[in-house]
Amino acid sequence: MSTLDTTLHADAHEHHGPAKGMGRWLFTTNHKDIGSMYLWFSLLMFFVGGCMALMIRAELFQPGLQLIEPGFFNQMTTMHGLIMVFGAVMPAFVGLANWMVPMMIGAPDMALPRMNNWSFWILPFAFAMLISTLFMEGGAPNFGWTFYAPLSTTYAPPSVTYFIFAIHMMGISSIMGAINIIATILNMRAPGMTMMKLPLFCWTWLITAFLLIAVMPVLAGVVTMMLMDIHFGTSFFDAGGGGDPVLFQHVFWFFGHPEVYIMILPAFGIISQIIPTFARKRLFGYASMVYATASIAVLSFLVWAHHMFTVGIPLAGELFFMYATMLIAVPTGVKVFNWVATMFRGSMTFETPMLFALAFVVLFTIGGFSGLMLAIAPVDFQYHDTYFVVAHFHYVLVPGAIFSIMAGVYYWLPKWTGHMLDERMGKLHFWLSFIGVNITFFPMHFIGLAGMPRRIPDYALQFADFNMVASIGAFLFGLSQLIFLWNVIACVRGGRKAEARAWEGAEGLEWEIPSPAPYHTFATPPQLPESLR
């Protein structure tokens, strides 16, 4: 520890601290600054997308049309999905990677700091463009976040072109971020940190980054085809000109399915950091975790058509995609088993990050099981495009991806701010979120099985009670996120002083440096501590 301190002090003399004023944030190449900006940006987008979700739930509180026009409702479902996927979840993970990956592997910064700055600063422009479509003539995109052609080409509002360019910019940002993370992890590890000693958060992000490089260009391709169909007279998706609308779904889901793993693999990494800390045991089955993550990533390329069971694919295709999808449950089951085995006979404590991690394991597993149900091709004909699907993907994304991000933020906040969280407020946030999320999304399973279609502003009377319950839960969940905002701000401004190793059982290079982490860390590569050798 003492050698580390001296290097840090020597470091402080050589380099200057952060620049002053706005310039610090505009021109920064510091991974910690950029990580913070990513995280604040995604929190802002989380609240914007959340307001849209609450508008949807307010309209669905009762049957009939009360508050908003059906056209605007469609814009809300579309924008909510796009903003939450591309604006909240993905940038939050990139932000966590920016903050933590260099500190976890003992690198002074990301491999390509200038590109890092650029990949962040593209995002506010992309989302300003996307959100500006709400104020355009014809309204914002209204064709669902999956933007199926020809709804998104022939029948789209004029603002679709802005949507296409926004997607292009988000894609470029993600690809640059992914390149940066791969270069950092592969080239900048501290001496002695072999690949199989890499913290699991880095491993899952490395694999995620490869997924991003493989599929974000395909997304860029599909929106480019849309652009050409709309403006340049091609017929990729227009049957009248020899194209095929079903082709759109194939290309989209070739991106779309790996995309859902892009949104969950880093979550697996975060949970795999947190559970060992609070169970005070090493992660059970480290190598199997790595291989499970890699096999999930490989399998994710072979299952896309399970989103399209009802468009009419040959029986052999239905069977192949059904079994391939079910196969993914095996590596996912390995992961859940390993988390439970890590906790088994551990001396567990239940601080806020651990509570979120535990809720993740339980609720993500529920989402995984409903996913298995949806994977069964014959029954998918009943579930397709119902609220059951909505319940499924919200269970894996909200108490899955979002809870893991919150767990990660609470876990590493002491390292970022130098202050411990007010545990009482943290637990209040957890319990309100946990109860809210279940009240919101659990009833959706039932109304979905009963046949309520998704993306509609009005519904038959028999769905009224469960919809009212879901709406109450949504407002409870939404409002309790203000506590999260309060907690983060309170933790930035003050609180009990955090030690270098903020949590008793925490292992890893990031806990060897003081809290808050100095502006520059690991200017010279560190010696791995005993526990990591």
Binding site: I179, A220, G240
Partner: protein
């Protein structure tokens, strides 16, 4: 730094290749449809060698005409149902009228259900092979000549051949219309 450079070049190349792969999926998809008969896309067109027909069974072929949204033409089959032995050449026609006051060009897109049967339906001549240009108020009888392959699986006793008519007047250059005008 050169280590970063090499890696970054490879990763950028990888993403550029994947962008191209997205577009390569378009022809790949057509090949895939051809192999599997996906989407009921018919691939067997042009003349076929006439051989003895299989009189042991008769296939019910249902003909359906669909208008794409916004297509104002009157469009329908002459015969709703045709019974054909496998190997038997059958001729029928679809009628189309352009009731509007302007010249229009249409394209009919065929589809066969069940998709499994698509590859066994040989179309010797079909109006869907070319674009149809109709002057204001003009009517046309569009011929269709087909043979059902004798290799059609036994369990398929009936199949549906459906045509969707698309208005492609805005897309086609005036060339087609001009050519049509010359002929008149």
């Amino acid at each position: 730094m050169s280590a970063h450079g090499r890696l970054v070049r490879r990763l950028v190349l990888g993403s550029v290749l994947m962008f191209g792969f997205g577009f390569a999926l378009v022809p790949l998809y057509d090949v895939f449809c051809e192999v599997t008969g996906l989407n009921g896309k018919i691939t067997n067109t042009g003349p076929v060698a006439i051989s003895a027909m299989d009189t042991s069974r008769q296939i019910k072929v249902r003909l359906i005409a669909v208008h794409n949204e916004g297509m104002p033409w009157d469009f329908g089959p002459m015969d709703g149902v045709i019974r054909a032995h496998p190997g038997e050449m059958k001729q029928t026609a679809f009628m189309a009228t352009n009731p509007t006051g302007r010249r229009m060009v249409a394209q009919a897109i065929p589809s066969v259900a069940p998709a499994e049967a698509a590859q066994y339906l040989h179309k010797v001549n079909c109006f869907c092979f070319e674009q149809q240009a109709l002057m204001a108020g003009e009517s046309v009888e569009m011929p269709l000549l087909f043979v059902i392959d004798k290799k059609l699986p036994e369990h398929i006793r009936s199949l549906t051949l459906s045509y969707t008519l698309f208005d492609i007047s805005p897309e086609v250059s005036s060339a087609v219309l001009a050519e049509k005008e010359q002929r008149l």
